[in-house]
């Protein structure tokens, strides 16, 4: 396999946008292309990640549409729909194109415009990834799967609501330092958990999860320019290598997993990514995890190999995962506060990590970060893509 580098990264601010779908995608793409500063090197391929446009924006074949917007003809183009893991899956398609020698420059853009529909329809469109007969017909939504998972996980490992709140407080504080984040409001333990008015401020969504345990619904786009080693050698910017990727699946229903609290797909995807990168979890300086729900940041931090099982919340308590801690997690604010435009998320995680490894993150910069890890969690853990990035001198 040939080496693959990330030459440029860009995104729109996440949040509510008036921009049409393809404008979001174009703005992020142009930012990434400008960041890569390719000179005259042509783009060979375009991959667009998206989950809901066919249903909620009535648009399909987004890869072709983006080539047209950016006048990149005759570049190859495709669209990837892989649930909430669409973003990193699209990056994987670009990675494979370059690693195989079929392409030298691939633009990967994730985009979602979800806020055009009401909350109920938005929830229902994401819920359509659940099992149609054994889950969906019961009114199962992603928050409900997270609630079922959280109750079991918390009981098993002694995780309390205050730990979930710590994830939210940390990620909101990080997002307040990120101009691209959807939510730029810091929160306190008192305001969301301990004061009497917390009951009103932080209503239940899927017990034991409350509003501040859940990511917002966002519009947005994120984009990466992947290049071959030959092209990377000609470019001026810092060299960030997409050192390893891994992907694993699990049962469609959550109830069929022998131990539903064991995120086996995360474990396998992470092991693959680290093995292919020739690195270990303890080498990582900064990570972006898929905290669509606070409990997932804790569970993924264990399954990815950073902390022993049942000890993720203890690391959180020690402050290990804060900015300035031993392993900062979600310096961008995570899905929790940066926002979660579903198809864009997996790309946006790698945008943040690319910026981190290039030292371009300002107030939320993790000092001297050289190795980074991302977990893009699709379905409710039935399809996970993990990535390891490495800064080269």
């Amino acid at each position: 396999m040939k080496s693959v580098y990330i030459a440029g990264a860009g995104m729109t601010r996440f949040g509510r946008s008036e921009w049409p779908l393809m404008q979001l995608a174009s703005v992020a793409s142009l930012a990434a292309l400008k960041h890569a500063n390719l000179g005259g090197v042509p783009v060979d391929g375009v991959v667009v990640a998206n989950m809901g446009a066919a249903r909620i924006n009535r648009q399909t074949a987004l890869g072709s549409a983006l080539v047209d917007q950016l006048a990149l003809y005759p570049a190859a183009a495709e669209s990837v729909e892989n649930g909430p893991a669409s973003g990193a899956s699209a990056v994987k398609v670009g990675f494979q194109a370059i690693a195989s020698g079929m392409a030298d420059v691939v633009l990967v853009t994730g985009v979602e415009r979800m806020r055009v529909v009401n909350g109920m329809e938005g929830t229902d469109f994401v819920a359509s990834l659940s099992h149609p007969i054994a889950e969906y017909i019961y009114g199962v939504t992603l928050p409900s799967l997270a609630g079922l998972f959280a109750r079991l996980f918390m009981e098993k490992h002694g995780v309390e609501r205050k730990h979930l709140a710590m994830v939210a407080i940390k990620n909101h504080a990080n997002a307040a330092k990120n101009p691209y984040a959807h939510i730029q409001q810091t929160i306190t333990m008192e305001g969301i958990l301990t004061l009497p008015e917390a009951v009103v401020n932080n209503p239940p969504i899927a017990e034991p999860l409350h509003m501040f345990d859940c990511c917002p619904v966002s519009d947005g786009a994120a984009s990466l320019v992947l290049v071959s080693q030959e092209v990377a050698a000609k470019l001026k910017g810092p060299k960030v290598r997409l050192a390893g990727m891994g992907q694993a699946t699990d049962t469609h229903t959550v109830h069929e997993r022998k131990d539903p609290t064991d995120l086996k797909s995360v474990r396998i995807a992470a092991e693959q990514a680290f093995r292919r990168a020739g690195l270990k979890p303890e080498d990582v300086d900064v990570a972006e995890l898929h905290d669509a729900f606070t409990i997932l940041e804790i569970a993924e931090s264990e399954a990815s190999g950073f902390f022993p099982r049942g000890e993720g919340h203890k690391a959180l308590e020690r402050g290990d995962t804060q900015l300035g801690g031993r392993l900062p997690i979600n310096p961008s604010g995570g899905l929790k506060a940066k926002g979660h435009p579903v198809g864009a998320t997996g790309v946006a995680q790698l945008v943040e990590l690319t910026w981190q490894l290039r030292g371009e993150c300002g107030e939320r910069q993790v000092k001297d970060a050289k190795i980074a890890y991302a977990c893009n969690f699709g379905g409710f853990g039935n399809n996970v893509v993990a990535s390891v990035l490495q800064r080269e001198a």
Partner: protein, 112 residues
């Protein structure tokens, strides 16, 4: 109440799966008999969901994963006022969702 929820029993290794698959997840055999999924068991986990994707008459929906005594696990509606992890329940069939094509019947769990 004529509707039944069914799963499959592998004709080779005897594993019961719910929902069905085209291939037995235990032994990869491709022939099965249909089995009714019902009986008693215990609540493995539950949640009260307020973020609903469709209109229900209640403000929230109480969902649970139940492990039946034969080891098969199911997701459905928990009709218990004071839910607890590990509580004993039995399956019943009722309306679990109203959709454009009509009322959908599915698994509900009541305390025993």
């Amino acid at each position: 109440m004529s509707m039944k929820v069914t799963g499959m029993k592998c004709s080779s290794c005897g594993t019961v799966s719910y929902p069905t698959h085209a291939v037995c997840p235990s032994c990869r055999n491709e022939t099965f008999e249909t089995v009714v999924i019902e009986g008693e068991g215990k609540v493995l986990t539950y949640t009260d969901v307020y973020a609903l994707a469709v209109e229900y008459e209640t403000r929230y929906l109480r969902l649970a994963i139940v492990e039946l005594d034969d080891g098969v696990r199911v997701t459905g509606h928990l009709l218990a006022d004071k839910p607890k992890l590990g509580m004993r329940v039995k399956t019943t069939i009722g309306t679990v969702r109203e959709m454009a094509e009509g009322a959908i019947q599915g698994l509900q769990f009541v305390a025993v």
